[in-house]
Amino acid sequence: MVLVAALLVPATAGADLLTPEAGPTENAVKTDTLYKIVLFIGLAVIGLVWAALFFTLFRYRARRGRVATQITGNTALELGWTIGAGAIVVAITIITYVFLPDIRDPAASGPASVAEARGQSAAVNQPPPSDDKGLEIQVSGQQYLWRYQYPNGTFSFHEMVVPRDQTVLLKIKANDVVHSWWIPKLGGKMDAVPGYTNETWFKATRNGVFDGQCAEFCGANHPYMTAKVRVVDPAEYQQWVERQKQLIAEGQRLAQEQRREIEAETAP
């Protein structure tokens, strides 16, 4: 009763009382579904165990005249629940592998987004090229910032901008210590381990801003190592890329100017 009460008290706090966050991407939705199936199996088992336990405690409480029955075991019963427990975990294993491909393997990009993301013109409904690998972004974790390197030469920090309906493949690396990439609404986390490249993906079907933060303790300022993914229209993505390129070029030009000035000042 206490447990149920404690579960229900924060019921108004958020929609995700008992389930993980799931945003508009197939992998997160499928993870959520798999989680719910396992949760329901688990709750059924737990309900059974608690019912048996509390019923027994109530029914066989010590009272005048009650004598405990001296039983030491029951082989059939014991075999039964051993096999039962085994069957449940086999079932969960099978269910997991049924769901695994949808969670792990990147989906194909939407046709329009592929074309637009590549800056090509293509007829709507034209199937994506068979060699389509989606938009590959290098994600690098460092104390305490995420850096994103895009295939078209541009890069950004903290905020990742991606086109809608485009499969985004993330190659996750770390420059110093272990970090973990996690945008809860866009699927599970993947650790960034120095010396390794980890992979995950998402394909957002709706525009929006999705927040997350580093999930592996990476030093004192770990709580402030946040990340943001902004999903926009494919056209807007192209504009953003162009603008980002200009900003980077401008920034580099300014930096070079400054360097020249400093060198001029410090020159003998």
Partner: protein, 570 residues
């Protein structure tokens, strides 16, 4: 030295030198080789560190009690969770089992002491030294890489100073303490059992201590090497875990969890053992499925050393590896389920007396079941990608280690305190403590499951509103209720040591040989080592005493057969 007189009165005593005889009180305590005194020293030491670790937890809960709080700065916070985890695991839950084991194993198996009494004392001294080194660091710089101290963060390049070095040295000392203790338990249990006590008549608590000891040998000796590698990396230009020099951070994670996961069973199996002792006594029934219970302890330990990488599902590991560790982790659920069902089977058709030890034992069964269930959910690796390193994991781990281990340990405290001190703990205070702890514990940690599901990672000192505030406020309130419950038990112990009702040798009408001795037991434990004929030797002894008394009153001149039954202690 008063030995001769004592020995003359009790000719059968085997005395271990003259230690502990005729010395001033505190000197006697710190130089004793008596397993019971060492056991009590262990229990007081772990109680002290439990208070320290609990205080650290409360400070963290205050910090998280409101969003964007500035009560603690991030560095202090990271030091607190490092010390909290390290303390509770290495300084509390592992050695508390050694404390109960020390006091009880020789009594339960009908021995006069542990196999190596001096080694036993050394173990305690090493534990205290390890704790002193770990906490000595706070006067310079406390360790701050978490109890897992993942490389390369724990390397000298990222955390200079000597906090991590103190952590390494402290854990080395505590580890050696545990290993020596484990050797002692193994030697004692294999060689010093009373006549008739075969392995299949051994109390389940002793079974769990035996398995606990083997797991410690395996896990902590490997961990000693792991710590030495980190020490070399930090201080002697080693590159085991440094990726810039060809080392591998994944190596640390594998080696750490190769200790870290068996460590979970090291912490939980003795609590299972306590529950398996308590439930039959208060249900007035023998344990249900004794052999399955003993076998499942061994099975959990065996499977438990093959599941370490389920802590690493989000790292770059091949899919086949993930699948193996998922299935292996599931497999642990089967023997664990057997234990839970057998405990319910023990209660079934019993005559259940709701004394405080039973309440805490049943608390373990109910709460560990939930912790086990969330453990299965975490073992589903695609789901784990969403849940790992979030507050869901924090909640799961506390459901297993607090709702499980700690509740079992407190059940053991209420159950054996009369044997240790000769006095009963207050039932009323015990029940108050139980309900405060059950409510406080579940409110604290059920809210944390939801915080994790809503996207809160673990080990963050701050969070911004966005739906996390409510869960954290609830959790903080719960943690203070939990702390109040724990304080009631501590007050109960302090009060009952002097003022508790006298217990007598066998206040619960229990089953184990430990109840055959007076409370507290004399240094030599038994005047006569009894012969064991069943799983419940004390029940046999009580019955034979009753039969004899009945025979004596009815027929004073009855000629008894030459008795192999032990005489009751006057």
């Amino acid at each position: 030295m008063a030995t001769p007189e004592y020995a003359a009165r009790e000719p059968e005593i085997i005395l271990h030198g003259e230690v502990g005889q005729g010395r001033a009180g505190w000197i006697d305590w710190v130089t004793t080789t008596d397993h019971k005194k060492i056991g009590i020293l262990y229990l007081f030491t772990t109680a002290f560190f439990f208070l320290v670790g609990g205080l650290e937890a409360l400070l963290m809960r205050i910090q998280l009690g409101s969003p964007d709080n500035t009560f603690l700065d991030p560095t202090t916070y990271s030091q607190l969770f490092t010390l909290h985890g390290t303390t509770m695991i290495f300084m509390v839950v592992v050695p508390v089992a050694a404390g109960f084991g020390n006091f009880l194993v020789p009594l339960m198996i009908g021995a006069r002491d542990m196999a190596f009494p001096r080694l036993n004392m050394l173990s305690w001294w090493l534990l205290v030294s390890g704790g002193a080194v770990l906490y000595g660091s706070i006067f310079w710089e406390a360790p701050s890489a978490g109890w897992t101290s993942y490389a390369p963060l724990s390397g000298a390049g990222f955390l200079g100073g000597h906090g991590i070095d103190a952590w390494i040295l402290g854990l080395h000392l505590v580890g050696i303490s545990s290993i020596l203790g484990a050797i002692n338990f193994i030697a004692t249990i294999h060689n010093m059992r009373a006549p008739g006590m075969t392995l299949s008549r051994m109390p389940l608590f002793v079974w769990t201590i035996l398995v606990y000891s083997y797991l410690i040998l395996l896990a902590l000796s490997s961990f000693a090497a792991t710590l030495a590698m980190l020490l070399i990396d930090r201080n002697f230009d080693g590159t085991f875990f440094d990726p810039t020099q060809g080392g591998d951070p994944m190596l640390w994670q594998h080696l750490f969890w190769f200790m870290g996961h068996p460590e979970v069973y090291i912490m939980v199996l003795p609590a299972f053992g306590i529950v398996s002792e308590v439930i039959p006594v208060f249900a007035r029934k023998p344990i249900f499925g004794y052999k399955a219970m003993a076998a499942s302890v061994a099975a959990i330990a065996f499977l438990g050393v093959m599941v370490w990488a389920h802590h690493m599902f989000a790292t770059p590991l091949p899919l086949g590896v993930l699948g193996f560790f998922m299935v292996a982790s599931f497999a642990v659920a089967v023997p664990t389920g057997i234990k839970i069902f057998n405990w319910i089977g023990t209660l079934w058709r019993g005559s259940i007396e709701f004394r405080v030890p039973l309440l805490f034992a049943v608390g373990l069964v109910a709460q560990f079941a939930l912790g086990g269930m969330t453990g299965v959910m975490l073992a589903v690796f695609p789901v784990d990608w969403q849940l790992t390193d979030s507050y869901f994991v924090v909640a799961h781990m506390h459901h297993v280690l607090f709702g499980g281990s700690a509740f079992g340990i407190i059940a053991g405290l209420y159950y054996w305190f009369p044997k240790m001190s000769g006095r009963m703990l207050s039932e009323g205070l015990g029940k108050l403590s139980f309900w405060l702890m059950v409510i406080g514990f579940n409110v604290t940690f059920l809210a944390q499951y939801s915080a994790g599901l809503s996207g809160m990672p673990r080990r963050v000192s701050e969070y911004s509103g966005s739906g996390l505030t409510e869960y954290n406020v609830i959790s903080t309130v719960g943690s203070f209720v939990l702390a109040a419950g724990a304080l009631v038990t501590i007050y109960n112990v302090v009060r009952s040591i002097r003022k508790g009702r006298r217990a007598g040798p066998d206040p619960w009408l229990a089953n184990g040989l430990e109840w055959f001795t007076p409370s507290p037991p004399p240094q030599h434990n038994f005047d006569v080592i009894p012969t064991v004929r069943s799983l419940q030797p004390m029940k046999d002894i009580r019955r034979s005493i009753q039969e004899r008394e009945a025979a004596l009153t009815v027929q004073a001149d009855v000629t008894e057969p030459p008795s192999k039954q032990p005489e009751p202690i006057p």
